[in-house]
Point group: C2
C-alpha cells in the first residue's frame, strides 16, 4: 500500500507539472488573442508548439503508462468515484486515447488543421467552398483514421464524440435530439406564424462601449465571477481560459450599436469562468480538479447566459440599472419590450446569432451531417447541398450562399468533428440542472429563485451549482452527474418545458 | 570541419531553444506586471520557477560544456569577432560563469533575494534600516562568496561588474567617474548659485492621461519604435522586455499632474526597444543577436530620452503638437520656458527623479559604497551614515531619513550589486556615440542632426545606430565597440562637453 501510495503521489506530481506547463501554454494563447504585436505571430506559434510538444511527451511517456497499469489493478482504483479512483481513471483515459494515435497521424492532423483554417478563412471570405473542399476531404479522411485508431463499439462517431463528452454515445444523443426536434419544429413554426413581433430595434440603439464594459463587469461580478481571480478583456471571438488555479480570464467583443453581443457573451463566459473558479483548487491539474466535459462546461455558461440572464426575474432586478447605464437607448423602452426583444425567436442562417429555441436545430443539422461524413455516407463534395436542404427542412430557410451556410463555422477546418453536439447537450443539461435547483432552493425562507434574482441575489444558485457540480471535478461522468443531481437521466423534457413556458406567453402560442 | 560544423549547429540550436523558453518566461513576467489577477501571484511564481529551472539546467548542461570545449580549440573560434567566434565566445562566457557558482550558492542567493525584497519594502515604508540590515548583511556575504567563486584579477568588484558589463573593469570605471565628478561638482554648484530658476511648475499642470498616451505613442513611433513588433502598456515601474525576435514591449506610468514621468519613460523605454528591434533577428537567441551589456543598452535609452528628447531641436519640431495635445497645460507656456523646465538641474535625494547632470553623482555614490561593501571595508551597519556623508559631500544635501537615502533603491535587496555603474556608463556611451553620429550625419544634404530633428526626422540617426551598434549584437565588447564607432576609448569628455554646452546657456554659467 505504501509503495502504491508513493507511485500514486508521483503520478499526481507528474500530472500537476504537466498542467502547469499547459497553463503557460494557455497564457501564450490568451496573449495571442488579446494583444500580440502583428509581426510576432510566427514566433508565438513556435513558442506554443514547443510547450505543446513538452506536454504531449509527458502525457504519453511510457513510464506514465506503466505507473497507471500498476495502480489500475490496486486498491486505490477500486472505487471509481473516490478521489484516487477518479484520478487514476481520468489519467488513464487520457493516456490511452493519446497513445492510441500514431505520431504520424497526430502531426498530419496538426498540419492539416493549420492549413485548413487558413483555407477556410479565404474560402469563407470569397464564398468559395470548392477551394476549401480538398482540405476538408483530407481532414475528414484523417478523422476517419483517428476513429479507427481510437476504436468504437457502435457508431464510428462515438470515437470522436468521446473526446469532448467522455462516455456519451451517438445513439443516445440522436435519440434525445430527435425528440427535441420533433417538438421544436412545430413550436418555432407557430412562433413564426404569430402576430406578435419582438421589438428588437431597441437593442440596436446606441450603447456606448465604456458603459457596456462597466455594466457587464458589474453584472459578471454580481452573478459570481471573481475578479480577484480573473480578468475581462476584449477579443475578436469571446472565450474563457484558465491560466492556473486562481487565474480565469474571460473575453467579449462590443458593438456600439448592439446590446446582446457584448453583454450576453460576458454572462456566457462568466458562466464558464464560475465553473472553473468552483473546481477544487487543491486538485488543480488532476482529474478531480478538472471540468467533466464540454457539455457540462457549456451547461454552466448557458445557464447563466440564458436561464438567468434572459429571465424576466433577472431584469426585474437589473433593468433600472441598465436604463441608467444606457439612458439614450433604454430610457424610454419599457421592461416588457426589452424582455421580449432579448428573447426574440426567429429562424436564421447563422448559428452564433441564433436564439435559444432555434439554436438547437442549427446543432442538430451539424450533428447529422458530421455522422454522415464520418461514416462515409456523405462525400464532402455533396456537403453544401445537404446543408442547405436541412436548413430548409428544419428551419424553413435556405442559405443563398455557402458563406452563410456550410462555410460559417471554423470547427471542421480545425478538425473539431464531434464537438458541435456538446453545445446542445449544454442547453439540455442546463435546463435539467436549473429545474432541480429551482425546486431545491425555492423552498427556504429565501423565496423562489425568481424572487432571489429580483433582489439581485445569485449566491444561493451559485453555491448550489458549486456544491453539486463544480466541486465534483471529474469524479462522475456527465451522465452519472446529471442523474445524481436531478434524479433522472438526460432528456429533452426540461428544455422543452422551459422554452414552452417562456415563449408561449410571449408569442401567444402553446 | 564538417563534424565541427555539425557540433556548432547543434550548439546554436540548443541556444535558440533555451532563448525560446526564456522568451516565454518574459511573457509570464510581463503579464505579471501588466494585469495578473491578484490571487494568481503564487501560481505565477511556480510557473516562472519551472521555466527558470528548465533554462538553468540547459545553460549548465555538461554536454554544452563539452561541446564548447571542442569548438573553442577549433577554427570556428579563431576570429573572436566573426559570427561563429563571437557565438562560441559568448556562450562560453555564460556557461563558465553559471557553472562556477555552486548550486547551493545559487539557491541561497535566490532565496535571500526574495526575502530581501520583502524586507526592503517593509523597511522602506517604515523608514527602518535596522530591520533590513540582517538580510542585507546576508546578501553582501553571499555576493562575496559569488566573487570568490567567479574569481577576479584586480578588484573583487570586477567579478560582479562583469556580469552586467562584460569585460569592464572597476579601475577603469573609477578613473572615468572620478574625472566626471571633479568636473560635475563645481558645475552643479554654479547652477545652484545661478539666479535663473527653471519654471518647472509648467510640468505640474493638468495633462490628461489619454492625451499623454496618444502623444507618447505618436512620438515613440516617430523616433522609430515599431508598433508592428511591439506594444506600449502601463505598469507601476516602466520597463522594456523582449518576448521574441518580433515582440518588444515597453511600459510607462502616467501621472495626470506631471508631464515628465509618463513621457520621458516612453522615450527611454522606446530607446531600449529600438535597440532590441535592431538586433539581427536571424540570430535571435545567439550572442550575435543579443545586446552587448547593460551599459550599451542604457546608452540607447538615454540617447533617445535625453540627447534627443530633451534637446531644443526635438521640441522646435514637436512643441506645437504638444501644445495641441495639452492645450490647458501648455497653451500659454512658451517653448523657451518648457525647454528650460524639462532641463531643470538641482541637487535632490532620489536617484530616479534626478536630472541629467546630478544623476551621475547618485550613481557614483552607490558605486563607491558597493566597492567598500564587497571588499569588506564598510560594514553594512555603517552604510546609512556613509551614504548620507557622500550625499552631503557630492550634492550638498543630506537625507533626513533613510527612506529617502540608503533605502530608496530595490537593487541591493535583490542582490543586484555591480549594476548601478552601468547607468552612468550608459550616459557616457550615449554622449560619445551621439557626438560621432552628429559628426557623420551632419555633413550630407540632410542638414545637421538638429535640423533633422526640427523636421521630425529621426530615421537617419536610428539607421546609423542600427548599423553601427544594434546589428553588431555581441561581436564586440562594449569597450571595443565604442572605440570602433567613435574612434576613441570611453571617457568623460563627451558627456561633460554636452552638459556644459546645454546647461551653460540655460543657467548663464560656464
Amino acid at each position: 500500500m505504501s509503495k502504491k501510495n508513493t507511485i500514486y503521489d508521483q503520478l499526481c506530481q507528474h500530472a500537476r507539472e504537466t498542467a502547469l506547463i499547459g497553463s503557460i501554454e494557455e497564457l501564450l494563447g490568451w496573449d495571442e488573442q488579446t494583444g500580440l504585436p502583428p509581426a510576432a505571430a510566427k514566433y508565438r506559434a513556435d513558442q506554443m508548439a514547443y510547450l505543446a510538444g513538452l506536454v504531449h511527451r509527458r502525457q504519453t511517456a511510457p513510464q506514465l503508462g506503466e505507473c497507471l497499469e500498476t495502480l489500475a489493478e490496486g486498491p486505490l482504483a477500486a472505487d471509481p468515484h473516490s478521489e484516487t479512483g477518479a484520478t487514476i481513471r481520468g489519467l488513464r483515459r487520457s493516456y490511452d486515447r493519446k497513445t492510441k494515435l500514431p505520431q504520424m497521424l497526430v502531426e498530419e492532423l496538426t498540419r492539416t488543421a493549420v492549413l485548413g483554417q487558413q483555407s477556410w478563412v479565404a474560402a469563407r471570405k470569397q464564398n468559395d467552398f470548392a477551394s476549401f473542399q480538398p482540405l476538408l476531404e483530407t481532414m475528414v479522411a484523417l478523422k476517419r483514421q483517428e476513429v479507427e485508431a481510437v476504436g468504437y463499439e457502435d457508431h464510428p462517431y462515438d470515437a470522436l464524440l468521446d473526446e469532448y463528452e467522455p462516455g456519451e454515445k451517438t445513439a443516445n444523443v440522436t435519440r434525445i435530439l430527435a425528440r427535441l426536434r420533433d417538438a421544436l419544429v412545430p413550436l418555432i413554426q407557430s412562433i413564426a406564424d404569430s402576430q406578435r413581433v419582438a421589438p428588437i430595434e431597441i437593442l440596436r440603439r446606441s450603447f456606448p462601449i465604456e458603459a457596456q464594459e462597466s455594466f457587464g463587469r458589474k453584472m459578471a461580478a454580481q452573478i459570481g465571477f471573481d475578479f480577484e481571480r480573473g480578468r475581462l478583456d476584449v477579443t475578436h471571438h469571446p472565450f474563457c481560459t484558465g491560466l492556473g488555479p486562481h487565474d480565469h480570464r474571460i473575453t467579449t467583443r462590443y458593438n456600439e450599436n448592439f446590446f446582446n453581443g457584448g453583454f450576453f457573451s460576458i454572462l456566457h463566459e462568466s458562466g464558464h469562468g464560475i465553473y472553473e473558479q468552483g473546481l477544487p483548487t487543491a486538485q488543480y491539474g488532476l482529474p478531480t480538479g478538472s471540468a467533466i466535459s464540454l457539455g457540462i462546461h457549456e451547461s454552466q455558461s448557458r445557464l447563466w447566459e440564458n436561464l438567468v440572464g434572459r429571465s424576466r426575474a433577472f431584469w426585474d432586478g437589473a433593468y433600472a440599472e441598465a436604463q441608467s447605464a444606457f439612458p439614450a437607448a433604454l430610457g424610454s423602452a419599457s421592461l416588457d419590450d426589452f424582455y421580449f426583444a432579448i428573447n426574440d425567436v426567429r429562424p436564421s442562417l447563422i448559428r452564433v446569432e441564433a436564439d435559444e429555441a432555434t439554436y438547437n436545430l442549427h446543432i442538430l443539422i451539424r450533428f447529422e451531417l458530421e455522422q454522415e461524413l464520418v461514416s462515409g455516407d456523405l462525400p464532402v463534395g455533396d456537403l453544401p447541398g445537404a446543408w442547405n436542404d436541412k436548413y430548409e427542412a428544419y428551419l424553413g430557410i435556405r442559405p443563398s450562399k455557402d458563406a452563410d451556410g456550410v462555410l460559417q463555422d471554423i470547427h471542421w477546418s480545425a478538425g473539431l468533428i464531434g464537438y458541435f453536439p456538446t453545445y446542445s447537450l449544454g442547453n439540455l443539461y442546463a435546463s435539467q440542472f436549473f429545474e432541480a435547483a429551482a425546486a431545491e432552493l425555492g423552498d427556504g425562507n429565501n423565496g423562489s429563485l425568481d424572487e432571489q434574482f429580483r433582489r439581485g441575489q445569485f449566491q444561493p444558485l451559485r453555491d448550489w451549482l458549486c456544491e453539486k457540480i463544480h466541486t465534483q471535478g471529474q469524479r462522475y461522468s456527465a451522465a452519472e452527474l446529471v442523474e445524481q443531481v436531478t434524479g433522472s437521466s438526460l432528456s429533452h423534457d426540461a428544455l422543452l418545458r422551459r422554452l414552452r413556458g417562456k415563449l408561449g406567453p410571449l408569442y401567444g402560442v402553446s
